[in-house]
């Protein structure tokens, strides 16, 4: 088969397809989990499993990634369904933001990538900072009315708390009906989330291949790397554009010889919480205004946390 010759536009398609091929299986896994939750998970289970105290429940949710490690692409359809099944939004946000960082796979990959460069410190700082920021975000968002946070379509499927509490067993249905329902839900979620994923990936691939590595821009980036105050935000913006998977981003940034460790920490914490594709994925659950404020809040929090962690590194 005759392939088109390499070109600037070809670079975009290569990067676009690469991220799609990498991410789509995880979105499918997330959609299937979401479908299974819809078909078989009783709504009251959330209330029974999580602590009654709101703060404690949000903290526990931030640690769920240790038991149920889900990457940032797969987590969105799962969260969408869990919220509809009665998981409090604060807990959902805490789990959604923490899970791509606070999980054993990411811990191991960060450890391996930073071998010879304080791997324990960097791994601990990454997981710790990610957890604290995710829980803080969950606590803040738990105080906002649900109707102000969630998109109409998610709200439409929201099960009232009173109904969720009384449903002690999964809806009565045959196993076959359950499978059909799970698959139909999975397909709906997969297509919904994929749309946002594709848009995010297209923008990320476009920025990465057409803008980021222009020599003139690189000179400016390198000059900013030496600036104590700007190094971290520069890498956070880079993480946002590159939209890397949280299990591999450590290998990419660990090799960098220019940026300080605190900036690398900011890259490793901010990227899995918010990047170009996640902006659009989050928009399938949250209202655009909420995504904007969440992004802004996360940026400030990670920036501040990286400086706080900097004192530990020194």
């Amino acid at each position: 088969m005759q392939l088109p010759p390499s070109s600037i536009s070809g670079d975009f398609w290569v990067a676009f397809l690469a991220i799609i091929f990498e991410g789509l299986p995880f979105i499918l896994i997330g959609a299937i989990i979401s479908g299974a939750i819809d078909a078989w998970l009783p709504s009251s289970l959330m209330d029974r499993l999580l602590p009654k105290n709101r703060g404690a429940a949000i903290i526990v949710s931030g640690l769920l990634g240790i038991i149920f490690p889900v990457c940032e692409c797969a987590i969105v359809p799962v969260i969408r369904r869990l919220v509809q099944k009665g998981l409090p939004v604060g807990c959902a946000m805490s789990y959604m933001l923490a899970s791509p960082i606070v999980n054993p796979i990411v811990a191991l990959s960060t450890w391996a990538a930073f071998q010879g460069r304080d791997p324990g410190l960097m791994t601990g700082a990454r997981l710790g900072t990610g957890f604290v920021i995710a829980v803080a975000a969950g606590l803040v968002l738990s105080r906002v009315p649900v109707a102000s946070l969630l998109r109409e379509r998610v709200l439409a499927g929201l099960r009232p708390r009173s109904e969720a509490k009384t449903e002690t067993i999964a809806p009565r249905q045959s196993f076959g009906d359950g499978v059909v329902r799970a698959f139909q839900s999975a397909q709906r979620d997969f297509l919904d989330v994929s749309l946002y994923f594709f848009i995010g990936v297209a923008i990320a691939a476009m920025t990465q291949t057409q803008v980021l590595y222009r020599p003139d821009l690189q000179d400016k980036i390198h000059s900013l790397a030496a600036n104590h105050w700007l190094a971290a935000p520069v890498l956070m913006v880079l993480a946002f554009i590159l939209s890397l998977c949280s299990t591999t981003d450590a290998f990419i940034i660990a090799q960098d010889a220019i940026f300080p460790a605190t900036a690398k920490l900011a890259f490793l914490v901010f990227g899995p919480m918010l990047d170009m594709k996640l902006i659009f994925l989050y928009s399938s659950v949250l209202k655009p205004k909420v995504v904007l404020w969440l992004g802004l809040g996360l940026f400030i929090a990670v920036y501040a946390a990286s400086f706080a962690a900097g004192t530990v590194f020194q």
């Binding site: 392939l3 088109p4 070809g10 690469a18 959609a31 460069r117 499927g157 139909q184 299990t247 290998f251």
Partner: protein, 378 residues
């Protein structure tokens, strides 16, 4: 169309609805009639579709209470037919799009083109994902007659009823337009990408990326991770009197080609200066390395070239170019820009822009085919 609806106050009855033939289970309640204060009965009817409808009847006020609920129900019936048709149409289209996306993923894996995009287990995951997406679409297509619903209580109020569109009485599915746009965007972008991708980056992009990424010298530990064969040799050397020697490296996998040159990868050469002992042993040795040859734009001059390879950690989007300087003393050789070559020459450990580097003082170049593990090269 309006209906005069006579009602016999037989509570908890089932009646065949004249307009649409639905069976309605009626549960009455009383409320005051708005126009004359007489009491009225409010009946909540559940039709065969499982939706609930509220009907208001008055019997004692003497007014002509021409009810509109029959008309509403007929429209509702038509809306249901439309909605059902739309639902089936979109199930078919969704299945087509899912099979297409899954098919593209499976095709790239089956044809081997996936090697240009993903590495290692991600290829298997892409295949499994592709098959899974196809199964998802086909299963739902086969089960299109079975509407399992969403499990929610859809006892819509009048207001909600009126806002639901005929094509989308079930609000989770979105409007017809949004569903159509979703399918068009997904299928269109995947089709365009599959047709237009050259399976490798352009030379300019990788050159820019290569010079943009400043790779840190590796520690001995990292060097071992990148090259397990060398790891064993270095580890033994550090524990043995006399340190690292060529013999020890040969025992641990360092091979010579038929011309007597040590076969090293570009990555080996790139990271060689990171380990002082390794660099000491290899300095001045004849080696052969395979990569793509380009003019060195960062350090221009006659005979100044660069040998490139790519390493993908996860997917092509994170591809990192590695390169090693190559110097031809007699000026530029005859070569195809970015072509694949085996470069033979002597290793020289030196400095480039303040960093210890390894370069090849080239004696010969031989054109070669792109190695299978280097599908991504430009």
């Amino acid at each position: 169309m309006k209906h005069e609806h006579s009602h016999d106050h037989d509570h908890h009855h089932h009646d065949g609805h004249g307009c649409c033939g639905h069976s309605h289970e009626t549960k009455p309640a009383e409320k005051e009639h708005a126009c004359c204060g007489e009491h009225a009965h409010v009946h909540t009817d559940k039709c065969a579709h499982g939706r609930e409808h509220e009907h208001v009847h008055t019997d004692k006020c003497g007014h002509d209470h021409a009810h509109e609920h029959g008309s509403h129900c007929c429209h509702h019936h038509e809306a249901h037919e439309d909605a059902e048709w739309t639902r089936r149409f979109f199930l078919l289209m969704q299945a087509v799009v899912l099979v297409m996306i899954g098919g593209v993923m499976c095709y790239f894996v089956a044809s081997g083109r996936i090697g240009a995009y993903l590495v290692g287990n991600f290829k298997i995951l892409a295949l499994a994902g592709g098959i899974g997406i196809i199964i998802l679409g086909l299963f739902n297509l086969m089960m299109r007659d079975k509407n399992a619903g969403c499990g929610h209580d859809h006892s819509h109020g009048e207001e909600e009823e009126s806002t639901a569109t005929a094509a989308s009485p079930h609000t989770h599915d979105g409007s017809v337009a949004s569903r159509a746009i979703t399918l068009l965007l997904l299928s269109g972008s995947v089709a365009a990408a599959a047709i237009l991708t050259p399976d490798h980056y352009s030379r300019d992009y990788l050159m820019n990326k290569g010079s943009a990424i400043k790779q840190q010298p590796l520690t001995a530990e990292q060097l071992k991770q990148k090259n397990p064969g060398l790891a064993s040799a270095l580890s033994q050397a550090s524990q043995t009197q006399g340190g690292l020697t060529l013999e020890r490296l040969e025992k641990n996998g360092l091979r010579k080609n038929k011309d007597g040159n040590y076969e090293l990868s570009v990555m080996d050469l790139h990271y060689m200066p990171s380990d002082l002992e390794y660099a000491r042993v290899m300095d001045g040795q004849n080696v052969a390395a395979t990569g793509q040859l380009v003019k060195d734009t960062a350090n221009p001059g006659p005979g100044h070239m660069r040998l490139f390879t790519l390493q993908i950690t996860c997917c092509a989007a994170d591809a990192q170019p590695y390169s090693v300087p190559v110097v031809f003393e007699d000026g530029d050789p005859k070569f195809v820009d970015a072509g694949w070559y085996v470069i033979s020459g002597k290793v020289e450990i030196g400095e480039e822009r303040g960093m210890r580097t390894c370069r090849i003082k080239a004696k010969d170049l031989t054109a070669t085919l792109r190695p299978p593990e280097q599908r991504m090269g430009f």
